[in-house]
Amino acid sequence: MDFSWLSDPFYQGYLWEGFVNTLWLLLVSSVGGLILAVGVALARLRGPQPLVWLAWAFTTMIRGTPLLVQLFFFYYGVGRLLEGVPGMRDSVLWPLLSDPFFFGALTFILSVGAYSGEVIRGAMQSVPRGELEAGRAFGLSGFQVLYRLWLPRAIQLCLPTLTGEMILLLKSVPLVSTIALMDLLQAANIIRDETFLVYEPLLLIAGIYLATTIVLTLLLRLVELNFPGMRPTRRRWLPIR
């Protein structure tokens, strides 16, 4: 085993950039994806008929095709198409639209939106009717019932599933190395190409993924335990006073 390349500041830079990009992608995709997921769930449950169909078609398309294919579709397909639009290269959006990070985040947001949308829809359906009825009975408006009672309760019910999805998402992120985005795998690939060492860089990033997963699992566990209603009484966020 030869880990001498680890002391090279260039490789350290690649790895660090890859690690930061991975976390950023995870964060942006989770937040954006969950917002989209709530929209998809609501569309399917309460939307007018065209919206119900649209949400169903979206979910079916995203869940029915491989993530890697979607990534290529958006980056090489849609990305190239946009490139050809006259004036696009001069527009203010161009820095965004020429950045592989944008297409990586877009793909993952759509993916999380589709998968978690179904999870949230199921959870919303399993919130006991009586709880929502109590909200109406006390004069809360439909919107108040939604954001004060229905959504928080649904998220409480499916939180372990959602956090599981997030951990799965972390392990999907290396796919972006195929669209020239500097993530951990891309950093390892560069190190392999330049040093002709195959296993060492891979072992290192595998260790980083493992450590990140463990930390993430613990953090999300903390979120689950501290979600209102999960413990007997109201708690502070961290177990320190």
Binding site: G130, E133, A137, F138, L140, R148, R153, Q156, T233
Partner: protein, 265 residues
Amino acid sequence: MTSSLELSPSPQAATAPAVVADHLIKHFGDLEVLKGVSLEVPEGTVTSIIGASGSGKSTLLRCMNLLERPDQGELAIADEAIRFTRNSQGDIIGLDRRQLQRLRAKVTMVFQQFNLWPHLTVLGNVIEAPMRVKGLSRKRATALGEHYLERVGMADRRDAYPAFLSGGQQQRVAIARALAMEPRLLLFDEPTSALDPERVNEVLGVIRGLADEGRTMLLVTHEMHFAREVSDQLVYLDQGRIAASGTPDDVFDDPRCRQFMAPAA
């Protein structure tokens, strides 16, 4: 802290009726559940609705805060008068959204299954509607909530979550939640039916205390002894019609409901 609050003045001697229901009709599909029910609840009195399962008593109660919307009839509750008719499309008309919200702020309900909100603490459950429907500040709602939690003996559990309370405790919190809106009319939909037998009395005790305060209440219950003891008026509902009504003694003696009462009397 509570001294600066005006806490729900108990309704004074019976004057105007708090509820006048006139010829309410309600269908579920082809099934006519209420076949023209008329009912009057004087202010400051307790009325219990009794009857067999499927007699329409819960539906009647749920019409009082429009959780069920009558197809026909007139309802005057707490200064809100509503007349139910149908427009040319056959849709029920008769009230707008703001009137509905006003009415529901004045007529609150205690459910058979408690229906507390599990992601909110005991206090959170109690102050939710006063804050969001009546627009009270958190401080004022909290003072009010603590007062009513004290009233039902649950003040020491204000930070607990409902899932960690017994059924009787949950129902007492649900009563505090209904009281915190300072309603003109309190509805109880079989409040003890989902409780363990040994928990029933703690809830009945709270309801009895409220009756003694002179609150206007409408109660659906299977607790015959309790209904007889606590009510000023008893309504016996049979297949969507009022078969007998009057003082508890009158109704219990009425031959039409003798058979129904038999096990309890």
